[in-house]
Symmetry: C2
Subunit: 202 residues, 2 copies
C-alpha cells in the first residue's frame, strides 16, 4: 500500500478502512471516487449515516429498527401478535419478511450468546422476551436462530428460560435446502431431515 501524500486523504481512508471487510487499498479507491464527486453528493453521502444513526429508533416492543418508536411490523394491526419469532438481528427480520410466509411478530435479540466474543445472555434482549412470552395472549415462540454452535446454545438457553412461561416453543425446520443434492448434503443435515420427515403433500 503506497503512502498517502495528504493527511486529510489518509484520514478519510483510515475511516473507510474501519468498515468490516474493507481493506486499505479498497478504502483508497472508494475515497478517491468520493473525491471526484460534486460537493453535494459527498455531503448527502456523509450526512445519510449521521442522520440514520441519530434518528433511527429501536422498536420499543421488538427491538427492530424503525423510523418510529414502534416499528411498522409491531404497529401493523393485521399481524398476529400471538406468535413471536425470535431472531438474532434485523437482518433476519428482513430475510424472513422477504419470504412472505410469516404473519406473526418478531423479537430481535441484538446478538447471540458467544463466549468466544464475550457475549453473554445479559448482553441480549432476553428479559424483555420472557416478559412478552409471559403475556397470556402469546401462544407460540418460534426460535429462528442460525444452526451454528452459538445459535444452538442460544436456542437451548432460551428454551429453558421459556419453560416457565407456559408458551409453546418451536424451532424453524432444518433439512436439506431447496436445490440441494442428497449426495452432497452433510450427514448431520441429512440425518436430521430423515428423522424429521413430514407427510408428503401433493
Amino acid at each position: 500500500m503506497p503512502e498517502i501524500p495528504s493527511k486529510l486523504l489518509a484520514g478519510a481512508v483510515d475511516e473507510m478502512a474501519s468498515l468490516p471487510g474493507i481493506g486499505r487499498k479498497t478504502a483508497l479507491r472508494l475515497v478517491l471516487h468520493l473525491l471526484k464527486q460534486p460537493k453535494e453528493s459527498v455531503e448527502r453521502f456523509s450526512n445519510s449515516f449521521i442522520r440514520m444513526h441519530k434518528e433511527l429508533y429501536q422498536c420499543e416492543i421488538c427491538n427492530n429498527i424503525s423510523d418510529t418508536p414502534v416499528c411498522s411490523i409491531c404497529s401493523d394491526k393485521s399481524r398476529d401478535t400471538s406468535i413471536i419469532c425470535v431472531v438474532e438481528s434485523i437482518k433476519e427480520v428482513m430475510s424472513i419478511e422477504n419470504t412472505m410466509q410469516y404473519n406473526g411478530v418478531y423479537h430481535v435479540l441484538g446478538g447471540i450468546i458467544s463466549p468466544m466474543e464475550g457475549i453473554g445472555p445479559s448482553d441480549l434482549k432476553i428479559d424483555s422476551l420472557i416478559e412478552r412470552a409471559a403475556d397470556i395472549k402469546v401462544n407460540e415462540i418460534i426460535l429462528a436462530l442460525s444452526t451454528t454452535m452459538e445459535g444452538e446454545t442460544t436456542g437451548f438457553y432460551l428454551y429453558k428460560k421459556l419453560l416457565s412461561c407456559n408458551v409453546m416453543v418451536s424451532i424453524i425446520a432444518r433439512g436439506i435446502s431447496f436445490g440441494d443434492e442428497i449426495e452432497y448434503t452433510d450427514e448431520i443435515t441429512l440425518g436430521r431431515s430423515i428423522k424429521d420427515r413430514q407427510p408428503f403433500k401433493s
Copy 2:
C-alpha cells in the same frame, strides 16, 4: 435483497451502494455496522469525507492532491524539477513514489483519453503540461501511462503535442514483470521485451 423496513436505513444503504464495487448486500452490512458504533464514531467517519472534499487542494503546479496549495512533492527543494513524469491520476503518483526510484516531479492528467467514456484531450490537464514542458529548465518528460488502448492513445497524443516543446520524451520500460514465467507471458509483452533488450548488468 430483502426489503429494508426503514426509510432512513434504506437511504443510507443507497448512499453506501453508490460507491463503486459495493453492492446492496455489502452496503447493508456496512451500514448496519455503522449503526452499532457510538455516535462519535459515525460522526467522525462521515465528517472525514466532507472535510477531505472541502479542504483538499489540487496542486497548482502538478494537479496532485495536497493539503496545501502546492503539493509536498512540488515544494520539495531536493526534487529534480527538470524531469516531469506524466501520470493518469494520483494513484500512480503514490505507486511510483512507493518505489523510491524517482526523484523528479509529476504531472497528473486527471484521466486518460477514452472516446468510449466520452473523455477527450480537452477534459485533461494537457495544456498546463505543454506549458510546463516548454520551460527551458525542463529536460525530460516521462510518460507513465497504462499499457491499455486508452493509455497508448493518450501517450501518442501527448508525444505529438510535446514535439514542439524541444524536450526529450521517454516512456517507462515495458517487459516481463518481476516473477513472471516466460512460458506464460503474453506474446506482445514477450516480443516487446526481446526487441527492447538491455545490456546485461551484473
